[in-house]
């Protein structure tokens, strides 16, 4: 903790109400992100396990459909996509938690007058992590999606 930090930042009443409202919506979005990411994690895990079991077995059920054949012929691509989805889901869960923690810090600024500046600094720092990781993750997802799409399009020929 910064020893020279202000214990009380004299926000006006309407500003405190606005910060409280911001914290409440941040918490809501944080919880939605955590729940959504955990759902994606569950679905991706089930899909990966299912695909792995189907490919490991001698049955032809996987390769009978068009999609099944596509997956069977491009195991590396689809398992890489699955692994990337798992990473996205895990990091998404962590980011939801970071956003919730930032909201808790901003809420403490309003609720208490013990270390306002430290709570603001901590909240802003967590917000920086949240926005930085979110942007980088979105860019990585676009790049991975484009790479996988292009590699499949080149392999099978566009339009054929």
């Amino acid at each position: 903790m910064n020893e020279r930090a202000l214990s009380h930042i004299p926000f006006q009443v309407e500003d405190e109400l606005m910060i409280h409202s911001m914290a409440r919506w941040m918490k809501f979005i944080g919880i939605v992100k955590i729940v959504g990411a955990l759902l994606v994690l569950f679905v991706a895990l089930v899909a990966l396990i299912y695909a792995g079991v189907e490919m490991g077995s001698s049955s032809d059920s996987m390769s009978s459909g068009k999609m099944g054949r596509l997956v069977a012929e491009n195991k590396l691509t689809f398992f890489s996509l699955g692994a990337f989805t798992l990473i996205l889901a895990v990091v998404g869960t962590a980011m939801g938690f970071v956003l919730y923690q930032a909201a808790e810090d901003f809420d403490r600024v309003v609720r208490s007058n013990e270390a306002d500046q430290d709570y603001v600094a901590s909240g802003l720092s967590q917000l920086e992590t949240y926005f930085k990781v979110s942007v980088l993750l979105a860019l990585a997802a676009v790049l991975v999606g484009l790479t996988a799409g292009l590699s499949l399009a080149l392999k099978y020929g566009v339009g054929s």
């Binding site: 910064n2 020279r4 930090a5 202000l6 930042i9 004299p10 926000f11 006006q12 500003d15 606005m18 910060i19 409202s21 911001m22 919506w25 941040m26 809501f28 979005i29 939605v32 901003f106 500046q117 603001v120 600094a121 802003l124 720092s125 917000l127 920086e128 926005f131 930085k132 979110s134 942007v135 979105a138």
Partner: protein, 133 residues
């Protein structure tokens, strides 16, 4: 700065003694908010461009408005937080301005999530009731 903004900037602390490390994090927050703003603006403009193609629909207008609104608020929040870190003229007022823009972003996201959940609930209810009939 407009007269209203100047009046707002004069109230509150002119300087909040953040540490150098915290100011660096605030500058970084401002940078990433700007990046998010540019991405949102690009997405909004691309939605507007597709409006002139035959594949246009009303959803794209709503999407474009949401993207451009969020981008605008991101830029305004980024500017406010950058001023908190780089100037000592009205730190508290700029902090409040940044928070106010962030609140708008999260509020809009929250409302969109609630609308989405309402749609999903309506579809599920329809399927349940329709299935029984």
């Amino acid at each position: 700065m407009s007269t209203g903004e100047t009046a707002q900037a004069k109230r509150g602390l002119s300087r909040i003694p953040f540490t150098v490390a915290t100011e660096a994090r605030i500058k970084s927050l401002s940078f990433w908010l700007s990046v998010l703003g540019w991405i949102g603006l690009a997405a909004g403009v691309s939605e507007l461009v597709t409006l002139v193609t035959p594949a246009r629909n009303f959803g794209q207008i709503a999407n474009a408005i949401v993207h451009i609104l969020v981008a605008t608020w991101c830029f305004q929040a980024a500017t406010a937080f950058k001023k908190v870190a780089t100037t000592d003229e009205a730190d508290e007022a700029y902090l409040v301005k940044g928070f106010s823009q962030l609140r708008k972003i999260f509020l809009l996201q929250g409302i969109l999530v609630l609308i989405g959940l309402a749609f999903v609930t309506a579809v599920l209810l329809f399927l349940v009731l329709h299935g029984k009939a």
